[in-house]
């Protein structure tokens, strides 16, 4: 019963903040991913067991654009739940955190949270406003281990090796690369996951990009992501139904060996776990290779965060709960609820030994010094809203890579102007 010491700590915390009144009901708004629900259920159950006077009212919301609108509407009208989860990084900045969200920098658990995460939940005034909720994700390429073993292939560390593997896979009569433009968001991966390689060649790209000094179209390293999309299409490496297939289809193809590769974020393994549990360990993972084998690393997506609205009626109780969620105990509860899908960004929170093969493939990048770089959307507030449409067009041969990069630079300009960034 690991909970007991922390329970004592938290009841002390609660007493000090003068919250010992009976029966607080905290409202919680979470998105409806099964992992999120399982994590939140585990956290709230343990918390109520330790604090019988605090109970929870959990409400679910859809993800995607409807979810974004819902969160913004409820923050604007002061109807937000006491605790809610939402993306970190540029989407967090779009919530106007300095006006709407409570200051969480005073929480005891902040000491254990990795600095790399804190930067993506810090408002423009330098105040930390969130705690991590869930595991970090990597963007890269899933591969089918059976195909690799049968054809005697090696995990590629450069793009040229990757394309050479594809050639052999095609010759063996399998689909080399699965793409699923039926879910347009999944088309962005080749561009977004390439950011580690961009950052190796042009270390200052994120800052220059925010300051309107660097562009995708004029930076050859950044252009490479768009070029990759064009290359795999032109070489005929895609599955025949790439225009209509969905994300679940992509994961199924790479899990069952219908396709050899599928570029995706590491959360995708959850889909295999649900739909093709027998193939779970046939799926491996590697970071998107660049031009230089010496610099091979992973582009990382930060987990979502839990926030407390500034206008919450139960501000102190909500903060105490969020503090618990950000502690090592909270982290262990979340791992217990979902298994390990990636590293948690809390010091002292270890993953269990029996993780799926693709998660095990991902961990060495995190253990290596400089093995990971956060995705561009966590380093720069600008991410053009139409990237997924542009990447679909490039990836299906409608637009050339050069034109696609140019279009994206124009798309980004609109957003930068809306955000009122200097020098745009």
């Amino acid at each position: 019963m690991k909970l007991i010491p922390s329970a004592a700590l938290f009841s002390a915390f609660v007493m000090v903040s003068g919250l010992a009144q009976a029966d607080t009901v905290l409202s919680v708004l979470i998105d409806n991913n099964p992992e999120t629900i399982a994590s939140m259920n585990a956290l709230t159950k343990a918390y109520t067991a330790a604090h019988p006077d605090v109970t929870f009212d959990i409400e679910q919301r859809p993800g995607g654009a409807d979810g974004d609108n819902l969160i913004k509407t409820r923050l604007a009208t002061g109807e937000m739940a006491d605790v809610f989860d939402y993306n970190s990084g540029s989407l967090f900045q779009a919530l106007k955190p300095t006006d709407t969200l409570a200051d969480l920098s005073g929480l005891a658990s902040q000491a254990g949270i990795l600095d790399s995460f804190k930067t993506v939940v810090t408002g423009t005034d330098g105040v930390v406003r969130g705690v991590p909720f869930g595991a970090a994700m990597g963007g890269g390429i899933y591969y089918n281990k059976k195909i690799y073993a049968d054809l005697g292939l090696k995990v590629p560390t450069t793009w040229a090796e990757f394309m050479a593997n594809n050639e052999k896979i095609k010759a063996a009569g399998k689909v080399p690369v699965a793409q699923t433009y039926g879910d347009t968001w999944s088309s962005q991966l080749f561009v977004l996951s390439d950011f580690y390689n961009v950052a190796q060649v042009v270390p200052g790209f994120a800052a220059d990009y925010t300051g309107n000094k660097a562009k995708y179209a004029t930076t050859p390293a950044a252009m490479a992501g768009f070029q990759h999309l064009e290359d795999v299409f032109k070489a005929g490496y895609l599955n025949p139904d790439f225009g209509a297939a969905k994300f679940d289809d992509g994961m199924k193809m790479v899990a069952t060996g219908e396709a050899a590769h599928y570029p995706m974020l590491t959360f995708g393994i959850g889909s295999v776990k649900q739909n093709e549990p027998d193939n779970l360990n046939d799926v491996g993972f590697f970071a998107q290779p660049g031009d230089d084998a010496a610099h091979n690393g992973l582009t990382v997506w930060m987990p979502a965060a839990l926030y407390v609205p500034a206008k919450s009626a139960n501000l102190d109780a909500a903060k105490a709960f969020v503090d618990f969620a950000g502690s090592v105990d909270g982290c262990n509860l979340m791992i217990g609820a979902n298994g390990a899908t990636g590293p948690y960004l809390i010091k002292g929170c270890e993953l269990p030994k029996d993780v799926p093969a693709s998660v095990a493939d991902m961990l060495p990048y995190f253990q290596k010094d400089g093995g990971t770089v956060p995705a561009l959307e966590f380093l720069s507030p600008i991410k053009g809203p139409n990237l997924e449409q542009i990447t679909v067009a490039v990836g299906s041969g409608i637009t050339s890579a050069a034109d696609g990069a140019k279009q994206y630079d124009q798309d980004v300009e609109k957003q930068a102007k809306q955000l009122g960034l200097p020098n745009w």
């Binding site: 409806n32 991913n33 009212d57 959990i58 509407t73 109807e79 679940d248 739909n275």
Partner: protein, 274 residues
Amino acid sequence: MTRRQYWTGIIATVVALVIFVVPFVFIAFTAVKDKAQASHLDFTWPLQFLFWQNLVDVVTTRNYMLLLAYFNSSIITVGAVAMLILFGAMVGYVLQRRQSRWNQVIFGCVLAGLIIPPAVVPTIWVMQGLGLFKTIWGMVLIQVAYGLAFSVLLYRSFIATIPRDLDEAARIDGAKPLQIFLRVILPLLKPVTVTLIVVQSIAIFNDFTNPLYYLPGKENVTVQLTLFNFQSQFSTQFNLLFMNILLVTIPPLIVFIFFNRQIVAGMTAGAVKG
């Protein structure tokens, strides 16, 4: 029946079957499959018939949320449709029968209601001010506000087809204005009323975005929102999702079958005269 008519009849039946029945069969098949087979989303015979198990799973999910959702959606639909019919008919009647300078202004407002899209956040401010936000009755009023313009238009043009002589005859017999409306006119509006019941109740029952924004809260869930128990951005349990769709489709289907015969008459009845 000639041979030619016989064959066109057969072809028409087959086409109708493919367009209307196949999607429904697809929903039904997917709803009884197991999780792995349903995730393929293809039109195949179910390997396992898990009808009862999926049904129980869907109904019991999140503490019998679906039953609460049925209850809420029914109240919203019945309340809103009743008000839409009563007020739509009244406004349409007065607008059509009593010509005045205000008619153009009022008709302009009705058209504006049809054309101008509603803004969510200011509407919520108004509802918060009135204490109606997060209440079922607030949601009923929202649906009435959004649907009233359409009802008024439909009633107004239909009432134009009812001869004024009927009103006058009733008045000579000593009926008061309210009696004329309730006893003489309203019963004659049956065809268009049936159309409105079907169109509006299906629209309101199936509404997703308005309850999402105007009716937050776990206890305020409506049927369309329950679909999100099984469907999220990154993973979807298709067998349970389709079972839920099947269950949610049944009430509108009943309404449709029940009023089916009168709909066509009502649709054309109000459409001709201005």
